[in-house]
Symmetry: C2
Subunit: 129 residues, 2 copies
DNA sequence: TTCCTTTTACGAAAACATTCGTATATACTT
DNA sequence: AAGTATATACGAATGTTTTCGTAAAAGGAA
Protein backbone atom coordinates (compact mmCIF):
# COMPACT_ATOMS: atom_id res chain seq x y z
CA UNK A 1 0.00 0.00 0.00
CA UNK A 2 1.42 3.39 -0.97
CA UNK A 3 1.96 5.85 1.85
CA UNK A 4 -0.36 8.77 1.21
CA UNK A 5 1.02 11.96 2.72
CA UNK A 6 -1.79 13.97 4.22
CA UNK A 7 -2.07 17.19 2.29
CA UNK A 8 -1.99 20.43 4.20
CA UNK A 9 -3.85 23.12 2.32
CA UNK A 10 -2.77 26.61 3.26
CA UNK A 11 -5.32 29.18 4.31
CA UNK A 12 -5.78 30.53 0.80
CA UNK A 13 -5.94 27.08 -0.66
CA UNK A 14 -8.61 26.12 1.80
CA UNK A 15 -10.71 29.10 0.76
CA UNK A 16 -10.55 27.86 -2.80
CA UNK A 17 -11.39 24.32 -1.80
CA UNK A 18 -14.43 25.58 0.07
CA UNK A 19 -15.74 27.26 -3.06
CA UNK A 20 -15.19 24.12 -5.10
CA UNK A 21 -16.76 21.86 -2.49
CA UNK A 22 -19.75 24.11 -2.31
CA UNK A 23 -20.20 24.77 -6.03
CA UNK A 24 -18.60 21.73 -7.59
CA UNK A 25 -16.03 21.87 -10.36
CA UNK A 26 -15.65 25.46 -11.53
CA UNK A 27 -13.65 27.90 -13.59
CA UNK A 28 -11.09 30.24 -12.13
CA UNK A 29 -13.49 33.04 -12.95
CA UNK A 30 -16.24 31.69 -10.75
CA UNK A 31 -13.92 30.88 -7.88
CA UNK A 32 -12.43 34.32 -8.13
CA UNK A 33 -15.82 35.97 -8.06
CA UNK A 34 -16.77 34.02 -4.94
CA UNK A 35 -13.56 34.97 -3.18
CA UNK A 36 -14.04 38.60 -4.16
CA UNK A 37 -17.22 38.68 -2.13
CA UNK A 38 -15.21 38.43 1.05
CA UNK A 39 -11.85 39.86 0.19
CA UNK A 40 -9.84 41.95 -2.21
CA UNK A 41 -7.84 39.75 -4.51
CA UNK A 42 -6.51 39.91 -8.08
CA UNK A 43 -7.69 37.51 -10.75
CA UNK A 44 -4.23 36.27 -11.64
CA UNK A 45 -3.56 35.63 -7.99
CA UNK A 46 -6.45 33.24 -7.82
CA UNK A 47 -5.39 31.67 -11.10
CA UNK A 48 -1.86 31.14 -9.89
CA UNK A 49 -3.02 29.60 -6.65
CA UNK A 50 -5.26 27.16 -8.44
CA UNK A 51 -2.46 26.20 -10.81
CA UNK A 52 -0.18 25.54 -7.88
CA UNK A 53 -2.88 23.46 -6.23
CA UNK A 54 -3.18 21.43 -9.42
CA UNK A 55 0.59 20.83 -9.38
CA UNK A 56 0.32 19.67 -5.79
CA UNK A 57 -2.43 17.26 -6.71
CA UNK A 58 -5.20 18.99 -4.82
CA UNK A 59 -7.10 19.92 -7.95
CA UNK A 60 -7.42 18.52 -11.41
CA UNK A 61 -7.82 20.77 -14.42
CA UNK A 62 -9.96 19.86 -17.35
CA UNK A 63 -8.30 21.82 -20.16
CA UNK A 64 -10.50 20.83 -23.06
CA UNK A 65 -12.21 24.19 -23.29
CA UNK A 66 -10.48 27.52 -23.12
CA UNK A 67 -11.66 28.23 -19.60
CA UNK A 68 -10.19 25.37 -17.67
CA UNK A 69 -12.46 23.67 -15.23
CA UNK A 70 -11.01 22.74 -11.87
CA UNK A 71 -12.22 19.88 -9.77
CA UNK A 72 -11.17 19.24 -6.16
CA UNK A 73 -9.34 15.97 -5.64
CA UNK A 74 -9.57 16.16 -1.87
CA UNK A 75 -12.71 14.95 -0.19
CA UNK A 76 -14.39 17.51 1.98
CA UNK A 77 -15.07 15.39 5.06
CA UNK A 78 -11.76 13.61 4.98
CA UNK A 79 -9.88 16.86 4.68
CA UNK A 80 -11.91 18.46 7.44
CA UNK A 81 -11.15 15.53 9.67
CA UNK A 82 -7.43 15.85 9.07
CA UNK A 83 -7.49 19.56 9.69
CA UNK A 84 -9.57 19.06 12.78
CA UNK A 85 -7.19 16.48 14.21
CA UNK A 86 -4.26 18.81 13.73
CA UNK A 87 -6.13 21.76 15.14
CA UNK A 88 -7.32 19.83 18.15
CA UNK A 89 -3.75 18.89 18.97
CA UNK A 90 -2.31 22.31 18.34
CA UNK A 91 -4.93 24.41 20.08
CA UNK A 92 -6.51 22.07 22.63
CA UNK A 93 -3.68 19.66 23.32
CA UNK A 94 -5.80 16.92 21.84
CA UNK A 95 -8.82 17.32 24.09
CA UNK A 96 -11.93 16.77 22.01
CA UNK A 97 -14.29 17.56 24.86
CA UNK A 98 -12.69 20.92 25.59
CA UNK A 99 -12.91 21.83 21.97
CA UNK A 100 -16.52 20.75 21.74
CA UNK A 101 -17.54 22.58 24.86
CA UNK A 102 -16.03 25.81 23.62
CA UNK A 103 -17.51 25.35 20.17
CA UNK A 104 -20.99 24.86 21.54
CA UNK A 105 -20.78 27.36 24.34
CA UNK A 106 -19.91 30.22 22.11
CA UNK A 107 -22.11 29.87 19.07
CA UNK A 108 -25.80 29.88 18.45
CA UNK A 109 -26.59 26.43 17.29
CA UNK A 110 -30.20 25.69 16.43
CA UNK A 111 -32.36 23.30 18.43
CA UNK A 112 -32.31 20.87 15.52
CA UNK A 113 -28.56 20.79 15.45
CA UNK A 114 -28.34 20.36 19.19
CA UNK A 115 -30.65 17.39 18.87
CA UNK A 116 -28.49 15.86 16.21
CA UNK A 117 -25.57 16.14 18.54
CA UNK A 118 -27.56 14.62 21.38
CA UNK A 119 -28.38 11.65 19.20
CA UNK A 120 -24.74 11.18 18.41
CA UNK A 121 -23.98 11.28 22.13
CA UNK A 122 -26.54 8.56 22.76
CA UNK A 123 -24.97 6.39 20.13
CA UNK A 124 -21.49 6.99 21.51
CA UNK A 125 -22.39 6.24 25.13
CA UNK A 126 -23.29 2.76 24.01
CA UNK A 127 -19.74 1.88 23.08
CA UNK A 128 -17.81 3.79 25.74
CA UNK A 129 -16.93 2.71 29.27
CA UNK B 1 -12.16 51.50 24.94
CA UNK B 2 -8.90 50.68 23.18
CA UNK B 3 -9.17 48.45 20.13
CA UNK B 4 -7.43 45.23 21.03
CA UNK B 5 -6.23 43.51 17.88
CA UNK B 6 -6.72 39.79 18.24
CA UNK B 7 -3.31 38.18 18.21
CA UNK B 8 -2.73 35.35 15.81
CA UNK B 9 -0.06 33.04 17.14
CA UNK B 10 1.63 31.05 14.41
CA UNK B 11 1.88 27.30 14.69
CA UNK B 12 5.28 27.40 16.36
CA UNK B 13 4.20 30.17 18.65
CA UNK B 14 1.19 28.16 19.70
CA UNK B 15 3.40 25.22 20.60
CA UNK B 16 5.35 27.47 22.90
CA UNK B 17 2.21 28.93 24.42
CA UNK B 18 0.96 25.43 25.16
CA UNK B 19 4.08 24.65 27.12
CA UNK B 20 3.78 27.86 29.08
CA UNK B 21 0.08 27.39 29.75
CA UNK B 22 0.72 23.91 30.97
CA UNK B 23 3.86 24.56 33.02
CA UNK B 24 3.47 28.20 33.91
CA UNK B 25 6.21 30.79 33.45
CA UNK B 26 9.39 29.07 32.33
CA UNK B 27 12.87 29.49 30.97
CA UNK B 28 13.76 29.01 27.34
CA UNK B 29 15.62 25.91 28.40
CA UNK B 30 12.55 24.22 29.80
CA UNK B 31 10.36 25.17 26.90
CA UNK B 32 12.98 23.93 24.52
CA UNK B 33 13.24 20.62 26.31
CA UNK B 34 9.51 20.14 26.14
CA UNK B 35 9.41 20.91 22.43
CA UNK B 36 12.29 18.55 21.84
CA UNK B 37 10.15 15.69 23.07
CA UNK B 38 7.99 15.96 19.99
CA UNK B 39 10.23 17.47 17.37
CA UNK B 40 13.76 18.24 16.32
CA UNK B 41 14.54 21.88 16.98
CA UNK B 42 17.60 23.97 17.82
CA UNK B 43 17.89 25.81 21.10
CA UNK B 44 18.51 29.19 19.51
CA UNK B 45 15.47 28.68 17.34
CA UNK B 46 13.29 28.38 20.40
CA UNK B 47 15.03 31.32 21.99
CA UNK B 48 14.52 33.49 18.95
CA UNK B 49 10.86 32.58 18.71
CA UNK B 50 10.26 33.44 22.32
CA UNK B 51 12.05 36.76 21.90
CA UNK B 52 9.88 37.58 18.93
CA UNK B 53 6.80 36.63 20.89
CA UNK B 54 7.89 38.98 23.64
CA UNK B 55 8.25 41.78 21.08
CA UNK B 56 4.77 41.06 19.83
CA UNK B 57 3.40 41.26 23.33
CA UNK B 58 2.45 37.61 23.65
CA UNK B 59 5.01 36.93 26.35
CA UNK B 60 6.70 38.96 29.05
CA UNK B 61 10.28 38.32 30.01
CA UNK B 62 11.51 38.63 33.56
CA UNK B 63 15.19 39.45 33.04
CA UNK B 64 16.31 39.78 36.61
CA UNK B 65 18.22 36.53 36.62
CA UNK B 66 20.54 35.35 33.90
CA UNK B 67 18.08 32.80 32.58
CA UNK B 68 15.13 34.91 31.62
CA UNK B 69 11.74 33.69 32.67
CA UNK B 70 8.95 34.01 30.19
CA UNK B 71 5.31 34.34 31.13
CA UNK B 72 2.40 34.10 28.68
CA UNK B 73 0.35 37.27 28.35
CA UNK B 74 -2.42 35.60 26.39
CA UNK B 75 -5.13 33.76 28.27
CA UNK B 76 -5.51 30.16 27.28
CA UNK B 77 -9.28 29.99 26.94
CA UNK B 78 -9.63 33.33 25.23
CA UNK B 79 -6.96 32.45 22.72
CA UNK B 80 -8.45 29.05 22.09
CA UNK B 81 -11.81 30.65 21.45
CA UNK B 82 -10.34 33.04 18.90
CA UNK B 83 -8.48 30.27 17.13
CA UNK B 84 -11.55 28.10 17.20
CA UNK B 85 -13.72 30.80 15.64
CA UNK B 86 -11.28 31.26 12.81
CA UNK B 87 -10.85 27.57 12.31
CA UNK B 88 -14.56 26.93 12.28
CA UNK B 89 -15.00 29.50 9.53
CA UNK B 90 -12.06 28.34 7.47
CA UNK B 91 -12.57 24.61 7.68
CA UNK B 92 -16.30 24.20 8.37
CA UNK B 93 -17.74 27.31 6.80
CA UNK B 94 -18.84 28.43 10.23
CA UNK B 95 -20.91 25.38 11.11
CA UNK B 96 -20.40 24.60 14.77
CA UNK B 97 -22.53 21.48 14.67
CA UNK B 98 -20.59 19.93 11.80
CA UNK B 99 -17.37 20.59 13.60
CA UNK B 100 -18.69 19.14 16.83
CA UNK B 101 -20.08 16.05 15.18
CA UNK B 102 -16.77 15.31 13.51
CA UNK B 103 -14.82 16.01 16.65
CA UNK B 104 -16.92 13.62 18.68
CA UNK B 105 -17.39 10.98 16.03
CA UNK B 106 -13.74 10.43 15.50
CA UNK B 107 -12.18 10.46 18.95
CA UNK B 108 -12.56 8.37 22.01
CA UNK B 109 -14.03 10.65 24.56
CA UNK B 110 -14.68 9.22 27.99
CA UNK B 111 -18.14 8.73 29.43
CA UNK B 112 -17.50 11.48 31.92
CA UNK B 113 -16.64 13.94 29.21
CA UNK B 114 -19.65 12.93 27.16
CA UNK B 115 -21.81 13.59 30.20
CA UNK B 116 -20.29 17.01 30.63
CA UNK B 117 -21.20 17.77 27.06
CA UNK B 118 -24.71 16.45 27.57
CA UNK B 119 -25.14 18.76 30.53
CA UNK B 120 -24.05 21.67 28.42
CA UNK B 121 -26.60 20.67 25.78
CA UNK B 122 -29.33 20.64 28.41
CA UNK B 123 -28.39 24.11 29.49
CA UNK B 124 -28.27 25.37 25.92
CA UNK B 125 -31.64 23.95 24.92
CA UNK B 126 -33.19 26.12 27.56
CA UNK B 127 -32.21 29.33 25.84
CA UNK B 128 -32.62 28.30 22.18
CA UNK B 129 -35.74 28.32 20.03
C1' DT C 1 42.72 33.32 36.84
C1' DT C 2 41.74 30.15 33.16
C1' DC C 3 38.70 26.99 31.04
C1' DC C 4 34.27 25.19 30.14
C1' DT C 5 29.31 25.59 29.95
C1' DT C 6 25.13 28.09 29.45
C1' DT C 7 22.76 32.05 28.14
C1' DT C 8 21.32 35.99 25.40
C1' DA C 9 21.96 39.09 21.14
C1' DC C 10 22.01 39.70 16.43
C1' DG C 11 21.64 39.11 11.78
C1' DA C 12 20.90 36.76 7.96
C1' DA C 13 19.67 32.54 5.29
C1' DA C 14 16.19 29.28 4.04
C1' DA C 15 11.64 27.86 3.43
C1' DC C 16 6.95 28.96 2.48
C1' DA C 17 3.07 31.58 1.01
C1' DT C 18 0.98 35.31 -1.46
C1' DT C 19 0.63 38.74 -4.91
C1' DC C 20 0.75 40.64 -9.30
C1' DG C 21 2.89 42.63 -13.77
C1' DT C 22 3.52 41.42 -18.33
C1' DA C 23 3.25 38.54 -22.34
C1' DT C 24 0.82 35.63 -25.22
C1' DA C 25 -3.06 32.98 -26.85
C1' DT C 26 -7.92 32.48 -27.81
C1' DA C 27 -12.44 33.90 -28.62
C1' DC C 28 -15.97 37.36 -29.42
C1' DT C 29 -17.86 41.80 -31.63
C1' DT C 30 -18.35 44.99 -35.17
C1' DA D 1 -10.01 41.70 -40.58
C1' DA D 2 -9.31 44.79 -36.74
C1' DG D 3 -10.23 45.78 -32.22
C1' DT D 4 -11.68 44.39 -27.68
C1' DA D 5 -12.28 41.31 -23.91
C1' DT D 6 -10.97 37.30 -21.41
C1' DA D 7 -8.00 33.34 -20.69
C1' DT D 8 -3.63 31.06 -19.39
C1' DA D 9 1.65 31.11 -18.78
C1' DC D 10 5.52 32.67 -16.55
C1' DG D 11 8.50 34.76 -13.63
C1' DA D 12 9.63 37.53 -10.23
C1' DA D 13 8.70 40.63 -6.12
C1' DT D 14 6.91 40.76 -1.60
C1' DG D 15 5.73 39.10 2.81
C1' DT D 16 5.88 35.90 6.59
C1' DT D 17 7.67 32.21 9.36
C1' DT D 18 11.25 29.31 10.73
C1' DT D 19 15.91 28.12 11.26
C1' DC D 20 20.45 28.60 12.78
C1' DG D 21 25.48 30.27 12.78
C1' DT D 22 28.36 33.16 15.27
C1' DA D 23 29.69 36.22 18.83
C1' DA D 24 29.56 38.26 23.19
C1' DA D 25 28.24 38.09 28.10
C1' DA D 26 27.65 35.66 32.48
C1' DG D 27 28.40 32.08 35.62
C1' DG D 28 30.56 27.89 37.55
C1' DA D 29 34.53 24.63 38.15
C1' DA D 30 39.39 23.63 38.33
Amino acid sequence: MTLEKTPKPTESELEILQVLWQHGASTVRLVHEELSKTKEVGYTTTLKLMQIMAEKGMLEADKTSRSHIYRPLLEEEKTQQQLLDRFMDAAFRGSASKLVMQALGNSNTSKEELNEIRNLLDKLEGGNK
